[in-house]
């Protein structure tokens, strides 16, 4: 097993992080369009997308079977499958991989739920260190506003209802997101996250992101080089 920070692959891995409603997914899809149009070979990897784990996660959420520990471990299982299947192979082949949420999401959420900080980091020690990790930092009220217009109904675990912080879902969600944001702030220096001010106009944020990403791009990452005809 190769541990975090020790993988050496020709490809590039860019990840976006942030609380719900921080605008990170919007930014990542804009980045994806741009990289595609520039001729790069790009793969997209989403949080919670392993086919091996999906049914188990769905059932557990529906039946409320999770504890903080099993929530953490099942998400780590999902992430391991993604790493072994969707992330390492394209990176080895010299492609660009974009990940919507990465290990920092787990660190933020699981620690907010009471898991031991060091333990969660050890569990994810197999992860590939990203080329750059963008943390979209939006003020809590802005993020919550955006969410409530996009998705009016908060789900049980998403709202942190399993933690008994509050009886009301919206109240619980706010407490949870506050704790998550606090964890993210701690991780900025620990993992060298690139902070993007999520309150700026979308185009401004995208410009900043592209500027940073382009520093790591080389001609040989383009599709023609990856897939010789």
């Amino acid at each position: 097993m190769i541990s975090y920070g020790h993988h050496r692959y020709p490809g590039r891995l860019f990840v976006v992080e942030g609380t719900d409603g921080s605008g990170k997914s919007t930014q990542l899809s804009l980045l994806y369009q741009w990289l595609k149009s520039e001729g790069y070979s790009v793969f997209f990897s989403e949080w919670n997308s392993s086919p091996l784990v999906k049914d188990t996660t769905r059932r557990a959420k529906k039946r409320r079977l999770f504890t903080p520990t099993t929530f953490s471990l099942l998400h780590a299982t999902d992430f391991a499958d993604r790493t072994e299947r969707d992330i390492i192979p394209p990176l080895k082949a010299g492609a660009i991989v974009l990940a919507d949420r990465y290990i920092y999401t787990a660190f933020a959420r699981d620690v907010a739920r009471g898991c031991d900080r060091a333990w969660v980091r050890q569990v994810y020690n197999f992860a590939v260190k990203p080329t750059a990790a963008f943390f979209f930092r939006a003020p809590l009220d802005v993020a919550i506003d955006r969410i409530s217009f996009a998705r009016p109904l908060l789900k049980y675990y998403e709202a942190g209802m399993d933690m008994d912080w509050a009886d009301d879902e919206e109240e619980s969600f706010k407490i949870f997101q506050g704790k998550i944001l606090e964890e993210y702030d701690h991780m900025v220096s620990e993992f060298g996250l690139t902070v993007i001010d999520g309150a700026q106009p979308i185009r401004t944020q995208q410009g900043q992101m592209r500027e940073i990403v382009s520093r790591y791009l080389k001609e040989n990452l383009k599709e023609k080089a990856v897939l010789p005809q």
Partner: protein, 254 residues
């Protein structure tokens, strides 16, 4: 009462305090007879008046089915496999094992974290990583390692039981042999080596499982009786006494 001791950091959100039950682990490689002995122990313990919970790998409500499906597909990566089993373990620990121990049950578990560690080692997974994950595990009251001398012995047992060699039990994902038999032998040999290595580290009580079932069963009973009696110094309702009663009953009915 026993104080809860964990290998590493305890789970969040659980009540850590003394428990009145006993956690007894039956470990060993595939085909060594673990489930037979768990079943025999269970009825022996129950007839002596002990409440017993038995559990084992992939039997969690949360992840059991998912693991079985993933195994069937033969597409489980080695890290993914480890974490899926760890999820299964954590679910059983929190929802079955710890509550039962608090309620004074004797928990018999068919495999514990050691099988998972052995499998990881054989697959070249970082030992520190696996041990860190299983830092959440409660240190058992006793671990019995059913040991056989050779992998050929295990192969014979698998065949006697009427089963074919299983893909994962044969370590087919590792590409160790040309067919299931060769692979099984090579894989189980590696596992035996890992178990032997862990024996001292984790203080296994080694039981020679090459002997007939009856002999192995009585060796287990003798040792487990001591583990249980530790707890009841007043000597009320000890296992030995009830065993005598049981045999008297049998004599009567005979």
């Amino acid at each position: 009462m026993t104080e809860m001791k964990f290998y590493g950091t305890a789970l969040p959100g659980i009540e850590i305090g003394p428990y009145s039950g006993k956690l007894i682990v039956i470990e060993g490689t595939d085909g060594v007879g673990r489930s037979t002995h768990v079943a025999l122990l269970r009825s022996w313990l129950e007839s002596a008046g002990n409440a017993v919970l038995d559990t084992g790998m992939t039997r969690s409500v949360l992840a059991g089915r998912g693991i079985k499906d993933a195994r069937a597909g033969h597409t489980l990566g080695r890290l993914t496999m480890q974490l899926y089993y760890a999820t299964d373990f954590a679910d059983r620990l929190e929802n079955q094992i710890l509550p039962a121990l608090r309620a004074g049950f004797i928990v018999l578990t068919d495999r514990y974290i050691y099988s998972a560690i052995a499998r990881a080692m054989v697959r070249g997974v970082d030992p520190e990583w696996v041990r860190a994950i299983y830092g959440i595990a409660l240190v058992p009251d006793a671990v019995y390692y059913l040991r056989v001398r050779s992998p050929e012995e295990l192969a014979a047992r698998v065949l006697t039981s009427g089963n074919a060699f299983d893909y994962w039990e044969s370590g087919m994902d590792l590409g160790l042999g040309n067919d299931y038999y060769d692979s099984f032998i090579s894989y189980q040999k590696l596992l035996l080596k890992e178990f032997d290595r862990m024996s001292g580290e984790y203080g296994f009580k080694v039981i020679d499982a090459s002997r007939p079932v009856r002999r192995v069963a009585s060796a287990l009973r003798r040792s487990i009786a001591r583990v249980i009696e530790d707890e009841s110094p007043k000597g009320s309702g000890t296992v030995k006494e009830t065993v005598k009663i049981e045999s008297q009953d049998k004599a009567k009915t005979a």
